[in-house]
Amino acid sequence: MASSQPVKPPLASQPSQVQRRSQPGLRYPSSGKTIYHRPLNRSRTQELSQASFAYLFGEMVSYAQKRVTGIQDLEKRYEFPPSATTESNLQSMIYAKLFLSTYRLNVQGHPIGLKLLDLLLYREPPRTQTRPLNIIALLQFITTVLWRHLFSRPADALEKSSNPETPEEYMISDNEPLVNQYISVPKEMSQLNCAAFVAGIVEGVCDGAGFPAKVTAHSVGKGEEGELWPGKTVFLIKFQPEVVEREAYLGRS
């Protein structure tokens, strides 16, 4: 009987042998410690090396730009603005590259936002461990708790759109995004802002908390000499109409 069984790793003390045998792909680390054995709290001083992050992020940006072959493929897969196709071929190629890079960076950031939302809420002290219930609470969580966790400083400004036609738009400004510090964008791609990655993280937090939104990163530096913040970036948060509707309803009751 025993000889017919597959060879088992020497982890007899672990429970649920049956389940492990039915999933041959599952392996435990040799130390026997899984992600569940690690603590969730970290001390404040533990930070990552910025040099290694810059290297990794540079690779992510170039990956996001690879394999852009043509505009037809894009139109089919994404909501691609049709106006782009009327321009010259070179122009539309650049546009395609720009659009796809932004999209891919955003997609890479999104799951991080979903995960960080719960991690950061878990780390909050028990008395303030509450889910954000309105837009302002959510945005304050993003500009303080999230920003501090990612960049060890709060965001520089949080504004509501002053245009009465777009009450669902909010803006978070960062004078000097950490992710862009070692990224130089070529002139013909000047519309590309690699903080789209951070926009993806913010979008993930909003979506996860039940406030679906579209978040985009825009450079607002004018490129003039002697400018105080040449890399200033504004994250435009556009909530879905149902969020605004719910907000109005909850505010009344």
């Binding site: 672990q14 429970p15 649920s16 389940q19 492990r20 999933q23 899984t34 992600i35 569940y36 690690r38 969730l40 799951p111 979903l114 995960k115 939302l117 719960d118 991690l119 809420l121 878990y122 461990q129 509450t130 889910r131 954000p132 219930l133 609470a137 996860g208 908390a209 039940g210 719910r246 909850l250």
Partner: protein
């Protein structure tokens, strides 16, 4: 007392299920749902989802306490920041009314007593810690079923410790 614990994702999809019994007051930790009512557990928890959607915007607390009741089944809920819901259906072995006369203080007999509420809160908090660890796995995507045997054993341990 018998318990049925379920984790429900953001699309009202089940991610994890676990059935267990009370380990306090000499309980053996085995769920004793009547055979003809056991299949109703999923149904009762699913019907509570509507109530959660109302309650979740009233308070920012994650622990929403006992939100629903179906005959002798009580449903407690905990909502994570990412809109994932933990449900605990608890069914006292005897109907609550018959034991109330004895003024018993055990968790098993008083499904809505403050002590029970507190015990369930601690249970949920421990699950939440393990849940955050689960989603921190870089290979875990939102609304994926949780199959880890380690997670299952952690849920079992939390149930044994508090309920």
């Amino acid at each position: 007392m018998s318990y049925y614990f379920a984790i429900i994702g953001t699309q009202d999809n089940p991610l994890f299920e676990y059935e267990f019994g009370s380990s306090k007051q000499g309980g053996d930790g085995v769920a004793r749902f009547p055979e003809q009512a056991r299949h109703m557990n999923q149904f009762i928890v699913h019907s509570s989802l509507d109530i959660v959607e109302e309650v979740q915007w009233a308070s920012g607390q994650m622990y929403l306490k006992c939100i629903d009741r179906f005959y002798n089944n009580y449903v407690s809920c905990f909502m994570t920041g990412g809109n994932v819901k933990f449900f605990l259906l608890h069914a006292p072995s005897q109907p609550a009314s018959s034991t109330a006369t004895r003024a018993s203080t055990s968790i098993a007999a008083n499904p809505t007593a403050p002590q029970t509420e507190e015990a369930i809160k601690q249970f949920f908090n421990e699950i939440y810690e393990n849940w955050v660890k689960t989603i921190m796995n870089p290979f875990y995507q939102v609304n994926m079923e949780v199959k880890s045997p380690v997670f299952r054993s952690r849920v079992a341990a939390a149930g044994k410790k508090y309920l």
